[in-house]
Symmetry: C2
């Protein structure tokens, strides 16, 4: 059952960082294209549905993607009810957009994805994830998110979501102070940010450094990491981070009643009102990683 | 970085169940012995510390074991303050015993482990985990836990902890109704049980079936699954289950003040009062697995 002899690496995607790896077995590869930035592939796996990888790092699987996308979007949406203009950086697979368009009060979503190959592959091979990429409220730009926020007008967004891959390759600049200074400037005074902020277990260094960076830009009291179980990422423990410019606190200002009704009506898979609150409770060893700085 | 070419299976422990695998790279094997039940090995890994495997399934790593052992022990200990006699089934590595002996009010711990090789390997090669296996309050029996509870006296324990491996091999009988009927009978009226209850993601079937079994024995309202991030197990999302005979509710009867003081004084790694409460909040898809039965 677990003999190494039976493990044929050619049938598996091995998402590995040094000394730990998550592997998912696939039946066939449906898509492969080398873009100017990275190699984009879609696989049909045995029991995680279809899977998107970039440079062989797992981005999402059909079975597990809802946990990530729902937590990235609905946590900020239920702490500030005045969100009408949203900017999304990355998010090429479209899952974040699918969750955003569930909220009728949003007026416009601007999405800036650097790699059109990710969008094209997702539209063709991941229809349940990319289903809102042609939505009328969406303005989809193929562009560099770092340049985009540098040139964006002050005070122009209520919510900015950084839905990036890991801090290697084209996403590296999305983990820097100068990028977040621009994000901060573009936010309206009540504006919020949520960020994919890596695993405190698997990518401890990236998690801690990004936390320090965000605190320098937003202030210590306005940066709130939260956790989700994401089995499609190595270690399964993944952090997102909620930041506010001078606005709502993710627990004290949480609109619980609205979240309960919405989660039921929308038949969400992972997010519910209890999980919203629970996700901000951190194991002690993770609290310690980010309080001694 | 994630090329399959660089992945040499002979340097890795591959904990695999069908179509998903967690792999941890090791420097050397420190211990290997085939017992009458299973093959017990200890490895020195690159960044998870030492690691115990049984039939090449990861049991624990030094870096991540505290999350599992603290959650299995302290959750019941802070919902009923009258726990003096404890029975532990399994737990050969000793981590559960180490956490139990932190509680001074416990009078006696009876531990029933079927395989003396696990105990011996842990005592020699995992000293930080097995540190309490010679504790004066501990009565350690090498015996079959199923037979033990069958012959145990009625109403004799305040807490029974089932710290078992997966439901294959010698642990299979620990996932049956007849075993839990005996566990129920041995419990005092206010008694509690906590159980390693598998991953709702990685071992969905085992998780659901054990939940149904426990509800049949304890009654629906007295069975409470809770979750912990356990990066050393595949998928990282792992469940434990709290059951009470007719006693305390894990949230309503939670002694928060006592838990806060204890966690600080004992310098726990994972468990804290917020995590106690948060761990019972389940993602919606997991709630649904166990409410339609």
């Amino acid at each position: 059952m677990t003999n190494t002899e039976e493990f044929n690496p050619s049938e598996w995607i091995i998402d590995r960082d040094g000394n730990i790896a998550l592997s998912i077995r696939f039946k066939e590869r449906l898509f492969c294209e080398k873009s100017p930035y990275q190699t984009v592939e879609v696989f049909d796996t045995y029991d995680r549905g279809r899977m998107l990888t970039i440079d062989r790092i797992i981005m999402c699987t059909e079975v597990d993607e809802a946990s990530y996308h729902e937590m990235l979007v609905h946590v900020p949406m239920f702490t500030n009810s005045q969100i009408s203009d949203v900017l999304v950086i990355g998010a090429g697979d479209g899952g974040t957009i699918r969750e955003l368009v569930r909220h009728e009060d949003i007026r416009q979503i601007t999405m800036v994805e650097i790699d059109e190959v990710v969008v094209r592959a997702s539209k063709e091979f991941l229809p349940t994830i990319s289903s809102a990429l042609n939505h009328p409220k969406l303005k989809l730009l193929i562009d560099d998110g770092i340049n985009f926020v540098r040139e964006a007008a002050d005070n122009s967004y209520d919510l900015i979501i950084i839905d990036s891959s890991d801090p290697v390759g084209p996403a590296e600049g999305l983990f820097t102070k100068s990028f977040y200074q621009d994000v901060y400037r573009c936010l309206r005074p009540d504006g919020l940010v949520t960020v994919q902020s890596e695993s405190p277990s698997f990518n401890r260094k990236a998690f801690v450094e990004l936390n320090q960076c965000l605190k320098q830009v937003f202030g210590k009291e306005r940066v709130h990491p939260y956790l989700a179980f994401i089995p499609m990422y190595p270690s399964g423990i993944w952090s997102l981070t909620y930041c506010s410019k001078k606005g709502a606190h993710p627990i004290q200002d949480f609109n619980r009643d609205r979240a309960i009704k919405f989660a039921q009506k929308q038949n969400l898979s992972y997010y519910n009102a209890d999980i919203h609150q629970a996700s901000f409770c951190l194991p002690t060893y993770i609290q310690k990683m980010i309080t001694n700085d």
